[in-house]
């Protein structure tokens, strides 16, 4: 969660909204969003939907996943 906040602050500058879902409290939501891996960051907008799995320790990959940096540049 901390990693996410850091990345968002650095790269998205107020153009985001984070919703934290605790699956232990709301297990049925896992089905609807097709969550298998934990943790998963689901980027709903812009389309297409992206799922970024993992603890977000690899910033490069996170940015690729969020489409904030082209994949060719990120070789992490």
């Amino acid at each position: 969660m901390m990693n996410l906040k850091k990345i968002c602050a650095e790269h998205l500058a107020n153009k985001y909204r984070i919703e934290l879902i605790d699956l232990l409290e709301n297990p049925q939501l896992a089905r609807g969003d097709q969550i298998v891996a934990i943790p998963t960051l689901v980027r709903n907008l812009p389309m297409p939907m992206r799922k970024i799995i993992g603890d977000l320790s690899n910033t490069e990959r996170v940015l690729v996943g969020l489409d904030l940096r082209p994949a060719a540049a990120a070789k992490g």
Partner: protein, 580 residues
């Protein structure tokens, strides 16, 4: 069949969950290991998903165990459609909270891996699904899909290990499916994690006939059949064919049942076949094998016993019609439901499939008598060994259920009539041969009882004749010219009759002769006697007269002497002394 016991004490076997799949519970001696995962692997299309669905459906409907199906490859909707034709209403089961289907879709292109992760989401979903209906059975089909969707195989493997431990802790009986790998049981080596029970499904096509087989590769802690078992998928789901007898431990009945032809019963020790035995009738085309079968079935139906007639060459209608012409009407038995025909061309599917089909039909009808006419049609489906194997399994099955089985075998014409049968005939308890006998330009039929185990049977040929009230057996003629049948026999019989008549007449004539002679003799005697009587009378008369005459003479003399006053002394003198 060899059963293996993987080291555990035979008396204590781990608890099992019945699958409800026909035949599978028999080969596993109770079902799948309870509370443990079972791996079902096989190539695409071999039936893994169907097995899994049946496991859950039966669990929900018959064993009161709700189930969860985690589908990685098909959506809920797809699954419902696929099994609807089997009569499984998955929606209804879901509504009644007996079944939960969760479609897990992992879209590779959406995913970016950014660090450590685990499969917590999957666990949550699984746990939620299980808890929501109190499921006791779980299916993961096919969990190897996660390797296609998610990166980092080492994380996935670790998670899989965790998953199976978790499933065991949850106490659910799980089926995990895996796709067959090249040289390995599954592509991702699931067999490492799921080692309690492993079942391999196979789908082979050979010479245009496809066969499905199942094999229990491993079943820890339990005895199980180790062979490949054929199974079929039909409109009612999966049926596995178990091999029913491990040892030759059939009970032998001493009850006798009629063959339907009285004189044939007489040839068979006077009473007919033993119940629960196998009977073979061999002969070339047109000798009357099916007619004997029809008699047998007719007799059984009369006794109220259900019968199944497997016709492999002729349609049931044709058979019924043909039998009517010899006075056997099978129609009413069919209507009453006592006789069931099954006409399937042997080339329609593989040997095992036929076996399975027969098993099922016999099970449904509770048949006591079964006819397979002719069994030789199956020979085209495999080599002799396979056919013999199929036959022995079939016969085993019948014997185990005390079903009397009647097989006909169509042989080629020619001198090797009996030899070609030897392989099959060794499996049979009773073997009869129908053969043409040719003589004097005629062709008649003869029947021999070549063998009949356990009874004294006639070893003599009988002539076999079709009449409009059924088959009749007639004694043949054993004359100096050999066996005579047909008109030759009739002629011989007529000749013998004539000769017998002549002899009788001759005898009568002699007797009459004797009587006459006796009469004549007696007449003669009577005449002689009469003559004698007459003579006797006369002689006796003469004697009396003579006596009388003598008496008178004496009297006269005495009187004369008295008158001459002769005294006693003068009596001494002769008559010359008188008259001086």
């Amino acid at each position: 069949m060899r059963a293996t016991n993987n080291g555990k004490d035979r008396g204590v076997s781990l608890p099992k969950t019945p699958t409800g799949i026909q035949g599978l519970d028999e080969i596993t001696f109770g079902g799948l290991p309870k509370g443990r995962p079972t791996l079902i692997c096989g190539s695409a299309g071999c039936g893994k998903t169907l097995f899994s669905i049946e496991f859950l459906v039966h669990g929900a409907t018959r064993f009161n165990e709700p189930g969860v199906f985690i589908a990685f490859e098909e959506t809920e909707e797809d699954l419902r459609k696929n099994v609807a034709s089997l009569g499984y209403d998955l929606k209804d089961l879901a509504d009644r909270k007996k079944l939960v289907i969760d479609y897990v879709h992992i879209e590779r292109s959406e995913i970016e891996e950014t660090g450590e992760y685990d499969l917590g989401g999957l666990f949550v979903r699984l746990g939620y699904a299980i808890d929501s209906i109190g499921a006791k059975r779980v299916v993961l089909d096919t969990i190897e899909s996660i390797f296609a969707g998610l990166p980092n195989p080492s994380i996935l493997r670790a998670e899989l290990r965790r998953l199976f431990r978790w499933l065991k802790d949850k106490g659910v009986t799980a089926i995990v499916t895996g796709e067959r790998g090249d040289g390995t049981l599954t592509r991702q080596g699931l067999e490492e994690y799921v080692s309690d029970c492993v079942i391999l499904l196979d789908h082979r096509t050979r010479e245009q006939i496809s066969t499905r087989r199942l094999q229990i590769i491993k079943y820890r802690g339990s005895i199980h059949g180790t062979n490949e078992y054929p199974f079929l998928i039909d409109e009612r789901g999966i049926s596995v064919l178990p091999i029913t007898s491990i040892a030759l431990e059939h009970k032998a009945s001493s009850e006798r049942i009629s063959s339907g032809v009285t004189r044939l019963d007489a040839m068979l020790g006077g009473k007919g076949y033993y119940r629960g035995t196998s009977i073979l009738v061999s002969g070339i085309a047109g000798t009357g094998k099916s007619s004997l079968a029809a008699h047998f079935v007719d007799a059984a139906c009369r006794r109220g016993e259900p019968c199944v007639y497997f016709a492999t060459e002729e349609s049931p209608d044709l058979i019924v019609r043909n039998m009517r012409s010899i006075g056997i009407d099978l129609g009413p038995w069919v209507k009453k439901g006592l006789l069931r025909f099954d006409a399937t061309r042997p080339t329609f599917h593989g040997l095992e499939m036929h076996l399975l089909r027969m098993h099922k039909l016999v099970g449904e009808t509770n048949a006591r008598v079964v006819v397979v006419d002719p069994i030789t049609s199956y020979i085209s489906l495999g080599d002799t060994l396979e056919v013999k194997s199929m036959l022995s399994r079939l016969i085993d099955f019948f014997k185990a259920h005390q079903i009397t089985a009647f097989f006909t075998s169509l042989t080629e014409g020619g001198s090797a009539l009996e030899q070609s049968e030897v392989g099959i005939s060794s499996l049979m308890d009773t073997w009869m041969l129908l053969r043409h006998i040719e003589s004097n330009g005629e062709r008649n039929r003869g029947i021999w009882v070549l063998k009949s185990r356990g009874m004294a049977h006639s070893n003599q040929i009988r002539e076999f004749v079709f009449t409009d009230h059924g088959i009749e057996l007639i004694d043949v003629y054993l004359g100096s010219a050999g066996v005579l049948t047909g008109t030759a026999r009739a002629a011989q019989e007529a000749q013998e009759k004539a000769e017998a008549l002549l002899r009788r007449q001759d005898l009568e004539r002699k007797e009459r002769n004797l009587a006459h002679r006796k009469e004549a003799l007696e007449a003669k005697i009577a005449a002689l006697r009469a003559e004698f009587e007459t003579e006797k009378e006369e002689l006796e008369k003469d004697i009396i007269e003579q006596k009388q005459h003598e008496g008178v003479l004496e009297q006269d003399r005495a009187a004369m002497a008295k008158s001459r006053k002769a005294d006693a002394s003068s009596n001494n003198r002769p008559n010359g002394q008188r008259g001086e």
